[in-house]
């Protein structure tokens, strides 16, 4: 302070105070940046760790085994190979014993242990496709045992790694794209497990969900936004929809269990019931998105249509809805993406069963991708870890594609009035 009692803004006290305030400002700003970056880092870490673990799930390790059918013929009737009984005939032909013998000859005492228990299925498929192989000596690439597979991917015991190195030196092992992962269904054996069954189940479930939730959601939104009189009934509908949007998903599972399964006696584990349950959950999301989209269509459009003589129904279905459609579709896709990733309600209605054959219809027992991920994450076998992550990568890819489509639609077609 100087003589007049006024604050000396350039004095050392004030300068220090200002410096302290600016330092606080910088700290606060860094704190904010840190929060943003930390959140983004969590996301990046999650994605990277899933992709890193899952990438090898798309690969499988194969061991070469040479079978000499001339020296040791399969006990099989050639005629049986032509028809539908081929699989059964080959299953009884003693291929596993042949394989084990050949592996032991080729790779020593533990040779048979290098092959997966179900590796004979690879031989079976090859022979079924080309019975001429039975006439002579043929070499097959068959699935390696889980321990060898893990060693090939850099995990597993030292023993297995040594065995893998030995095989590799002999040129008897290779890594290929695991097409079976995308085309097969669930299995107890990680080398035979695939996601096709679960994927098909997801597809069927989503079809049911979309067919129910989209029309019901859009029609309710139209009613509430355009026609509903202001009365108690309308209030009740609005409150119900807003509450349903916030109800935990597992409660919808309880509803599905109590109503669809126990009261209506619909089949357990079916895509139909899963779709119904998810439709009830998705409908409020669609209603809310559709109401916002309809609300954003300016009233002048309605007035103009009414002015040239359109009826109220014509105004909405010929003018308002087409203009609101991009917004409605965006909301629908986002709602469907959420339904696709949903697990908990489906556990309640029994979609966690072991499904080894893909479902053929809406009432067949089915499972869905997220539930398959959940089931695999519980498996004890180490080989399922990478399968789980690989299935997660597939699921995330679909969700990303759906959300990308929604963003594209919004940017491309949504009009600002």
């Amino acid at each position: 302070m100087n003589r007049l009692g006024l604050t000396d803004w350039n004095g050392p006290v004030m300068r220090r105070r200002l410096a302290r305030r600016y330092a606080a400002e910088r700290r606060f700003r860094l704190l904010g940046l840190g929060a943003v970056l930390l959140s983004a880092a969590f996301l990046a870490f999650l994605l990277v760790s899933m992709i890193g673990q899952g990438a090898t799930g798309f690969l499988r390790t194969e061991v070469r085994v040479t079978l000499d059918f001339k020296a040791a013929p399969l006990l099989i009737d050639r005629a049986a190979l032509a028809g539908r009984g081929a699989d059964l005939a080959l299953a009884n032909a003693g291929i596993p014993a042949h394989l084990n013998a050949a592996a032991t000859t080729a790779y020593g005492g533990e040779g048979a242990g290098y092959l997966s228990e179900n590796s004979w299925l690879d031989v079976r498929d090859a022979v079924r496709d080309d019975p001429a192989l039975l006439d002579g000596k043929a070499s097959f690439w068959v699935a390696a045992a889980t321990a060898i597979d893990l060693a090939a991917k850099g995990h597993g015991t030292a023993e297995a790694k040594a065995a893998y190195a030995k095989l590799k030196q002999a040129g008897a092992v290779r890594k290929t794209f695991n097409a079976g992962f995308l085309t097969r269904s669930n299995s107890n054996d990680p080398t035979r497990a695939g996601i096709w069954g679960a994927f098909k189940g997801s597809l069927l479930t989503m079809i049911v969900t979309l067919l129910l939730a989209f029309p019901i959601g859009v029609l309710s939104a139209v009613y509430l936004e355009e026609y509903a009189p202001r009365n108690r009934m309308t209030d009740l509908i609005e409150v119900s929809i807003n509450n349903l949007a916030a109800v935990p998903s597992i409660i919808f599972g309880l509803l599905g269990l109590a109503v669809f399964l126990n009261t209506w006696q619909l089949p357990r584990s079916a895509a139909l019931v899963g779709g119904l349950t998810l439709a009830l959950m998705t409908m409020p999301v669609i209603v809310i998105a559709a109401r916002n989209a309809i609300k954003s269509v300016p009233p002048s459009i309605r007035d103009a249509a009414l002015g040239v003589g359109a009826s109220p129904v014509q105004v909405v279905f010929h003018h308002v809805l087409p203009l609101a459609l991009p917004g409605i579709l965006t909301g629908t896709i986002i709602g469907m993406a959420r339904a696709l990733g949903e697990t908990a309600p489906l556990l309640m209605i029994g979609m966690r069963a072991f499904i080894a054959t893909p479902p053929d219809g809406f009432t067949d027992p089915a499972t869905v991708l997220p539930v398959q991920i959940f089931l695999w994450s519980d498996e004890v076998s180490r080989g399922f870890v990478e399968k789980t992550s690989a299935a997660i990568v597939v699921l995330l890819a679909f969700l990303l594609a759906m959300n990308g489509l929604a963003i594209y639609l919004r940017n491309r077609f949504e009009r600002r009035w």
């Binding site: 305030r21 969590f42 309710s220 009613y223 409908m283």
Partner: protein
Amino acid sequence: MSVAAIAFLVIGLGLIGWLSARTRAARFAAAADTAAGAAGRPHSLPFYHGWYVALWATVPALLFLAVWGWTSPALVTGAVLDTPAAALPESGIERGALLAEARALAQGKLAGAFNDEAAALAPAYRAAQARFDGIATVLALILAFAGGAYAFTRVRPDFRARTRVERAVMATLLVASLIAILTTVGIVASLLFESWRFFSMVSPVDFLFGLRWSPQSAVIAGQTNQFGAIPLFWGTIFIGAIIAMVVAIPLGLMSAVYLTQYAGPRLRAWMKPALEMLAGVPTVVYGYFAALTVAPALRDFAAAVGIPGASSESALAAGVVMGIMIIPFVSSMADDSITAVPAAMRDGSLAMGATQSETIRKVLIPAALPGVVGGVLLAVSRAIGETMIVVMAAGLAANLTANPFASVTTVTTQIVQLLTGDQEFDSAKTLAAFALGLVLFVITLLLNIVALRVVKKYREAYE
């Protein structure tokens, strides 16, 4: 013919009705155009006449088929039981199994019979099925033809078909929006009904205030005092409302502050969707991440520092990952309420010489607080209803502990646990899941109502 096939037939008839009525209406519309000019034009476009006839032809018949599909299996079974071949055992389960087998045989879903009784019943089943299907076909076709013919006779130039069709459209809209109410009623009714059955076995006081939760032993010993849910409530609050919020509130709030107040438009354009992606990741993925990556790391950390009772299913792992999932909910609500604070308040503070962070801390956040609190309440309601993360990462042991490295269990975990075994539906164990569901439903509902009220009040204050 099966119900589905008849439905297709009816829809085909509706299509024919649509086409013929439209053609007829188009003909008299054209005639009116040439004869009398605009004055004599029919009231409705031909297209509406078509829809009018199609609706009359299909809707009554399809409604009949829906009711029929519901009731006919019971009627068929009743008819089969009246036949002399039905010498069935009295016990319910065996009887049901035999009937189901006979039905599968009659429908050709089963190649051969396991039981001779079922094989004997199959012809009777087939006959009854054929008879009832015949009745259904005839009735549905009569309804479709009668409806279509009645409507077709009304297709005249002065008939107001559009008004009628629009009335049907409005009815459809109303029915569609009533489904939301039906769903709510269905949820409340099923939860209340099953919970009432549960509470007739276990006293509500024991359930709500009991400290011991072990439904497994309750089933074995036949006791009913093992359903004390306090440990579950504590576990749910500990994971969802404490640990998750300790992670989510600071990160979410600071992210919102930075993105609204400091970040340039480019950073904001990239980071906002990135944060929203956190909410789009399926919860089963978070659960797997928590169980496989976070939980072992935390357990090793706890063991290294020497914390007793460290579990590989710790509350901390589930809570932290849940907090990460919740970040975008907190940040988007905070973002909205910070942006809604009038610019004049912010400008006034800056003009007085306050730094930006002082403005944010002393003006913006206090002004936006109701919105932020509402967002946090919504996030809590979301966190306590979350299932997969806790099912996969939290434990099953019902402990009353405040040690974040120990294992606790939650309401949703126990619901899944109770309902995924092979239990008969009437046991107290399965019904307990519905009682837990009811508590969860009521609490999330209350949280949402309070949160929305807080947010709404605050919006009104600035509008």
